[in-house]
């Protein structure tokens, strides 16, 4: 069965929400997990799911392990499609639960599918 959209759990929304705060930023798994306060290991299935749907892209960082004296990190980034879709999901949620509110302003969100 072909899924039409990533499964939206609360953790997935938390990850997307964090990434939406800096849509062009580079993130690595542990950094995101720490920021979102997820338990270890929870983050990678979420990242894999979002990447599968094209909402995220990932590449290895440019650092040389021998110079950095640590393994390379995988860097994740919101794609344009991912940013648009995540904002739409967030806007739909806001429209459903807070139609008259403007409390999503901190995330650049407005009820009714508009982006601030």
């Amino acid at each position: 069965m072909i899924e039409k959209q990533p499964r939206m759990t609360m953790q997935t929304m938390a990850v997307l929400g964090t990434m939406l705060q800096a849509p062009t930023a580079d993130w690595y798994g542990l950094e995101l997990a720490t920021k979102v306060d997820l338990k270890s290991g929870t983050i990678y299935p979420i990242l894999a799911r979002l990447e599968r749907f094209g909402w995220l892209s990932s590449t290895w960082e440019d650092a040389e392990p021998s110079e950095e004296k640590r393994p390379r990190r995988r860097i994740y980034k919101l794609t344009g499609e991912g940013e648009r879709a995540a904002r739409e999901v967030a806007n739909e949620l806001l429209a459903k639960v807070a139609p008259a509110g403007a409390r999503g302003a901190a995330w650049g969100l407005k009820p009714g599918g508009q982006t601030a």
């Binding site: 929400g17 990678y44 995988r74 806001l94």
Partner: protein
Amino acid sequence: VSTVLAIIIAGAALVLVVIGRIFVGLVTNDVKGWLPRWSASLVRRASEHLPAEHRPRWEEEALADVDQFADRPLTGFLHALGMARSVKSLARELTAAPAGDAVVSTGGRRGRLWAVAAMLLTARTRALVEAVQVRPAVFRRMLVVLSLPVSFVGAALVIAQLATVASVVAGVVTVVSTVLMVLLEFRR
């Protein structure tokens, strides 16, 4: 005779204290040295549950994460344990059917909608994750499973510490009693 016996006991107790301290130090240092290797081994074993083409990438990613805890090997090991526990869920994601067109829809139950919306609005993820998303029964099972190895290591450390403390106390008591007995002998 009793004085000589007391001195022998005191000496033996002191030797035991010294050996105990050395042993605890050695074991602690060894465990600290082993933990990063155990973590790496755990990650490699866990990666066997993943499709072959995804193993190298996940291994490298997971080892990079574990490496972040180089100065806290126990935390690193627990992190590796958490990653190993979630590897099957990652395997399910990696082997899932290819994605279709991303059609946005909120779906889900009303309670979850409220929870997600509240999270979006307040960004208080931790409280909500614990209160809403993680079902109490699942959370309890997770706690039991995770607490077993931690309890085992903790109990071993506590026993080692108690043994050290007990031997120190025994040594001090024996030395004090020996000194008292020697003083009493001199008074006579």
